[in-house]
Assembly symmetry: C2
Homo-oligomer: 363 residues x 2
């Protein structure tokens, strides 16, 4: 145990009182920061950049140097796991990730290897260890992974998709094969997140970017079920070590299914901007903390509008403990860092009246 469990971010994840609403931003490290674009010049290949712990560490810390954010998140990508399976991967500017060969056959799926995160994904653990050393308990560090369903969409489609035809063909034509793939991914992801915790991550988050493209019953059977398995495995591993680590689940565009997500035993849910925090609170029955949720596009607006939108989101959540401020999705490359400064300042200042003034938290 360390003093970070008294940090705003970790306390809020456990729905404990804090002095101000903590804030961090999805994709807070990245191309919108000139210093990140500069750093990338040292290694223009995105995958190699992620695989170089010193660079990943520096990218992780850059936004913390600029803004009083309440958490860091390790700089990495959700496709590290298929890459560790041996699937060759390119990142094409403007098109996103692209596998050299999409995963479509029963043979290929049954051939997927088991991975040891401290071997094939050691670069992530090394980056986490470097960040933790440099951060020196200033703020907590979030480890993360893609969800089984979301990682599987990229593996089966071979690249970003709008229609998800290939993986849905598999879902409806060979549901057992897809279940095998998702189980395999779940095992790898659980090991990967446990290794990240061992390396120093203070909380972990599972990003299910594409769960929202499924029907409610398919979502439960092909996405949430496997996220729940991962939650249970991590909790079991932590229990063995007499440790507790908050787990955050995020499914984009999941709507009213947050009710089901809250039953998985996770500690917090990421909420995108298509659901109000007030509705999300009601749907989740205060079982979990909520992280979110203004539209990232609000950062295109003038400071007055940002302030107004922050005030609305804070009011929507209200006086209960357990709110972590965030955007409903990641930062865009064309956003202005100055607007992030405005956002962070507004969240800290405007949230104070929602919290008990007598509660002292550190830092």
């Amino acid at each position: 145990m360390n003093s970070l469990i008294e940090s705003r971010f970790i306390r809020a994840l456990y729905r404990q009182p804090v002095d101000k609403t903590p804030i961090w931003l999805m994709r807070q490290a990245g191309r919108y920061l000139p210093e990140y674009r500069m750093l990338r010049q040292k290694e223009p290949n995105f995958l190699k950049f992620c695989q170089t712990p010193s660079l990943a560490c520096e990218a992780t810390l850059q936004p913390l140097e600029r803004f009083p954010l309440d958490a860091a998140i390790i700089f990495s990508d959700i496709l590290t796991i298929p890459h560790a399976y041996g699937m060759a991967l390119d990142f094409i500017e403007g098109e996103g990730p692209c596998f050299q060969t999409a995963l479509r056959t029963e043979h290929a799926i049954h051939q997927l290897p088991a991975i040891d995160p401290e071997q094939e994904l050691r670069y992530v653990m090394d980056a986490i260890r470097m960040v933790k050393k440099t951060l020196d308990k200033r703020v907590p560090l979030i480890g993360f992974s893609g969800s089984p369903w979301t990682i599987a969409t990229y593996m089966v489609e071979g690249k970003s998709s709008k229609s998800f035809s290939q993986i849905k063909k598999m879902l409806y034509q060979e549901p057992q094969l897809l279940a095998h793939l998702l189980s395999h991914l779940s095992a790898s992801i659980a090991d990967y997140l446990i290794a990240q915790i061992e390396a120093g991550a203070d909380a972990v988050m599972i990003f299910d970017t594409w769960g929202g493209v499924l029907s409610p019953s398919d979502y439960l059977n092909y996405s949430l079920k496997y996220m729940e398995e991962i939650v249970k495995k991590i909790q079991f591993a932590m229990h063995q070590k007499n440790k507790k680590i908050p787990i955050i689940l995020f499914t984009k565009s999941v709507g009213g299914l947050v009710t089901e997500m809250a039953k998985t035993g996770c500690d917090a849910l990421g909420i995108d901007w298509t659901l109000s925090l007030k509705d999300a609170l009601q749907l989740t029955g205060q079982k979990v903390a909520l992280q979110g949720n203004i539209d990232p596009a609000v950062l295109y607006a003038e400071p007055d509008i940002i302030r107004q939108q922050v005030a609305l989101a804070l009011a929507s959540y209200g006086q209960l403990p357990g709110h972590i401020f965030n955007l409903g999705h990641g930062m865009n490359p064309d956003m202005d860092p100055e607007k992030v400064a405005v956002l962070v300042e507004c969240v800290h200042r405007l949230s104070m009246p929602y919290h008990q003034p007598q509660v002292v938290t550190c830092p």
Copy 2:
């Protein structure tokens, strides 16, 4: 008044008893049909194809020749209106629509002309008149338009977008300018749909493909508000003529906001597969008919699975009147027409137990 008001489709839209659940499919005419791909060879330019009434008419009728569908929908595109404003437009294979110049400035927006649908969009009305003549009251014909918000996204972004950064910048930085654009579009769309009704459309539908990318309050203020204006204008125009035409609204990925959509005075809502029909019924309080909602990807499955999914959707809606079967989104080009035959047959056959056998409807 004509006998089509006794058709399954129109009766279901008014939540009147029918013998079988009517079915039609979004994008039922299109590239998945070999006869459509053949027809396109006569005019490979998509926009010119839409502008040639004889070709649009033939494309509209093709799926009716193959399948016992309960409605036709006029073959056209949602970007006919900006094109009628004089915005030059290309359709690039695999990339979708692309305007030569995106609409971004106050000057350009204030310069947008008013349009007379019987002039600039006469080709659509001519196609409707041709279809009506050929259909000879066999099934009703649906006229349609994009929603103001959805059409505006293409005009302002200039092309398909994932982040909608440009129009959201406008929304947060120049909300009054965006409101002006949406009002202008609303007026054009109302006139356009009224003209389609005059030309012979038996029902009209407004496609709001991108309303779901907005926060709940932005959706109400920038999308639904304008669709409601259009509904009222059409209803006022029909009232003047002592006529009644059912109006269907469809916003993709709108989730629980169907409750608000049902209050607009429209007759039916399109429901995508991310909301169960049971939940949609509860959220809309039987104020409107519901059209939907299996995942189009179900058509990639074997006939057994299609049957099973149809049965689940029918059971989810239950015994109440007012269900029109449809996919939750359009057909994909790589789908097999044979599967559509299976789907239509299943819907008609499996839905019979949900309806009173003594009710006689025509055709």
